[in-house]
Amino acid sequence: MLVNLLPHLVNGLTLGLLFALIALGFMLILGLMEQINLAHGSLFAAGAYFAYAIATPRLPLPDLNQAWATVPLGWRYATAFLVAPILVAPLGLVIERLMRRTYGRDPLYGLLLTFGLAMVLEDAIRALWGTRDYTLPVPRDISGGFIFLDLIWSRYRFWAAAFALAAIALVWVVVERTRFGAMVKAGAHDGEMVQAMGIDIKKLRAGVFVLGTMLAALAGVIMAPIWGIRPHMGIDAVVPAFVVIVLGGVGSFWGAVLAGLLVGMVVGLSGAYASEWSLLSMYLLLILVVTFRARGLFGKKSLLEA
């Protein structure tokens, strides 16, 4: 019985780590800017599409494309993995630039602005790549399946979980062990004070936005082989991310990681019994938890209660 559930638990774990990764970028921005970035999912999608363009390869330069296609998939995949988030980063900078007008105002305007941007980016993806689904090719070493305990396991899921875990650890190091992280945390706590101490809050905001954007894009690259690449994958990712944030509580690193795992597990386990309905379970979990704990599991008082 438990063995039968094991694959679903592994799926849930992978999903949970990825949700946590998306949510962490989302939360860094929410903490410092006090704005919800609904376009975060579009950056996730952009990461996946850029990775596809690099790895397949479908670059807009025909000559380079041919030469690049002769390179082994493993190298192309690794390049896509590292370069796609960097290519998406300028998009995040543009969004940050546009959002500047909403800082200090009712968070509703940030929400509206980024909703509009999400619509723009989604339609831009449709215009560039069409509405069809794509699959990101994965090198043979990390794809395929293996048999363990008489069950077939997807090798990539374990790799995806490992990638996500590594990225989360990296975020932890950056936020908890660097000067930049200290400034970000201080800025989220009291932006004016940080400015008074001579830190350029504009640069800090841009830095956090780039970090958040790259995390979203990286999650998109990791998720692409599992979900497939399609225009509305951005919305599919941003909604779980905010569920994780609200559930875990705003401003809590471990809250986001735990809530991500919890959401992933609940989706994975409910998938074992009713695969059609599994995504519904995370909303029900959210409603249940928030009804009894208004600030989520580990939340402090935040702008969400404004």
Binding site: L98, G104, L108, D123, L279
Partner: protein, 337 residues
């Protein structure tokens, strides 16, 4: 407060009568300007929906990003009542109104004590729940294929019945609903209850300290807004002759927010109507040139949020008044025409 504002707001205003008059003549000239009759029906339905939606966004200051759920539930209820209860227009519209009111009450139970971004996020979650159910409950809603073969029912009046089969007669049927809803909402916004809602929008805590039951007022306004959105949804099912889950998606829930904001729902009672017209016209006009119309319209919307969050109505008021308010605007107040 100016002395004029202290007066009881008139039941009919020149703007209201002008809006109705223009809309009443619309079928006579809409084809002359190169558009089509069905667009007029669509505009009126979305205008009704946006007016109902603005009850929460503009008047109560509660940003709902899940209103599509109520619109969609109204549409499904209309179809299901027609198939399973009786093919009567009044019964089906009542079913649409009631079903979405019940759904609205269920949601309001969980979120009436919230506001701001938390409110927005929770409405997204509830909206997704209803959308998800509509997509997956294939046996009831038809899933992604939709609920098909919904009939445009005639409006029966005891002695006889008026067919609403063609687009022009349906338009006048929808116009009757629009006139009733807009008049009712106008009265409501200017009633004592409407003032409590406005007080909540301006400062919830102060309203509570003055002694108003804020929770009850918010609950009532959410349920009412949901019910009227459902009514519009019922009309939409009739116009489309079908009901689909996509109107319940986050995208469509956002579209009604966009309409309301573009028209100036934050500062004007009639803003959502203007917004619905602009949105659907832009969809058809930009959509005639390019398939990715939202790419361009979304950019316009982003620019609007950045520079004129009070929308077209705000711009119009700015033209009439020489000195526009400074950039970080004070809490906007709708309902002032």
């Amino acid at each position: 407060m100016t002395p004029a504002a202290r007066h009881q707001a008139p039941t009919f205003t020149p703007t209201m009568l002008l809006t109705w008059a223009v809309l009443a003549t619309l079928p006579l000239w809409i084809e002359r300007v190169g558009l089509y009759q069905y667009l007029a029906v669509e505009v009126l339905i979305w205008a009704t929906y946006a007016l109902a939606f603005n009850l929460v966004l503009g008047h109560a200051g509660l940003p709902s990003f899940g209103h599509g759920a109520f619109f969609g539930i109204g549409a499904y209820a209309f179809g299901l009542a027609q198939f399973n209860l009786a093919a009567s227009l009044w019964l089906c519209l009542a079913a649409a109104l009631l079903a979405s009111a019940v759904a609205g009450a269920l949601v309001a139970l969980f979120i009436s004590h919230r506001r701001g971004i938390y409110f927005a996020l929770m409405t997204i979650a509830f909206g997704q729940v209803f959308w998800f159910i509509a997509v997956k409950a294939h046996g009831i809603t038809g899933g992604e294929d939709g609920l098909l073969r919904i009939v445009r029912l005639p409006a029966g009046f005891g002695i006889g019945a008026v067919s609403l089969e063609d687009n022009v007669s349906l338009y006048y049927g929808v116009l009757a609903v629009f006139v009733l809803v807009s008049l009712g909402l106008w009265r409501l916004v200017h009633s004592p209850f409407g003032r409590v809602v406005k007080a909540i929008q301006q400062n919830e805590e102060r309203a509570r300290f003055v002694g108003y039951d804020v929770w009850k007022a918010k609950f009532a306004i959410i349920v009412l807004s949901a019910a009227l959105s459902g009514l519009a949804g019922g009309l939409f099912a009739m116009a489309q002759r079908s009901a689909f889950p996509d109107v319940m998606s986050l995208h469509y829930s956002g579209y009604v927010v966009m309409m309301t904001l573009i028209g100036g729902g934050l500062v004007s009672f009639w803003g959502p109507v203007v917004g619905a017209i602009v949105f659907l016209l832009a969809r058809d006009l930009i959509g005639a040139v390019t398939t990715s119309w939202m790419l361009w319209f979304g950019m316009l919307f982003v620019a609007l949020v950045m520079f004129r969050p009070d929308g077209l109505a705000g711009m119009f008021a700015g033209l009439r008044r020489p000195a526009p308010p400074p950039a970080p605007q004070p809490v906007p107040q709708p309902g002032e025409d």
